[in-house]
């Protein structure tokens, strides 16, 4: 990893500022920026979702998230990666997670962005608690 590459994963308890994260990737060497926003939807598995909360094992989540970003910086020909994941109570339409990747070329930017969000979803100890329109609620623990 060259000294000029940089990557950061953070938990965010108040609100993800996608525009600011996008700006933090600005770099005159980079021709491509790919960003992924995961947004809270109003439905899941056919049920209306009224509220959503993310809980994290914070120490491990930040360490695991940073490891994913560092691995991606080493594996893909990219310059910068920023990722943030919300914790706490979210509303429909809130950004739950953002991953932004800058690179000289779009192939690497797309591949790294996809890799990072996939790994975050698979590995980072964050759990989603959904409350439904009918009053029921559940922790989501995918198979």
């Amino acid at each position: 990893m060259s000294a000029t590459r940089r990557g950061q994963f953070r938990l965010n308890g108040h609100g993800i500022d996608v525009a600011a994260l996008r700006r933090s990737l600005e770099d005159p060497h980079c021709g491509a920026v790919v960003g992924f926003d995961g947004v809270v939807r109003d439905h899941h598995g056919g049920r209306a979702v009224s509220a959503l909360r993310y809980e994290a094992y914070a120490d491990l989540a930040e360490r695991e998230g940073q490891a994913i970003v560092d691995e991606a910086l080493a594996r893909f020909d990219v310059r910068g990666i920023v990722a943030e994941h919300r914790v706490g109570l979210l509303a429909i339409g809130d950004v739950a997670v953002y991953v932004g990747v800058s690179a000289a070329h779009r192939d690497a930017a797309f591949a790294a962005c996809r890799h990072v969000i996939d790994e975050i979803k698979a590995r980072v100890p964050i759990w989603k608690h959904e409350r439904y329109g009918d009053g029921a609620a559940a922790w989501i623990h995918p198979d």
Binding site: A61, K121, V124
Partner: protein, 78 residues
């Protein structure tokens, strides 16, 4: 040995507590079995990862006095 347990998500709700200190003589597999029985967990160990002192660890990790142990149910961030 005394171990610090922290619980998250559905495993915390089922336990009814966020943390516990337990006295445990066996390995991590036996610890999950004991905790599962006591708190009535339906989640099989095959779906759970182990974390010790803030790092993911294999299930044969040797536990030591004072370790912080967390059972990680399947994650759902993103």
């Amino acid at each position: 040995m005394r171990l610090q347990l922290r619980y998250f998500a559905s495993l915390r709700d089922a336990a009814g507590v966020e943390t516990e200190v337990v006295d445990h003589a066996g390995d991590a597999v036996a610890l999950y079995a004991a905790v599962s029985a006591r708190h009535g967990y339906a989640m099989p160990r095959e779906r759970v990862r182990l974390a010790v002192n803030g790092a993911v660890a294999p299930w044969d990790r040797v536990l030591a006095e004072g370790d912080e142990v967390v059972f990680l149910p399947p994650v759902s961030g993103g």
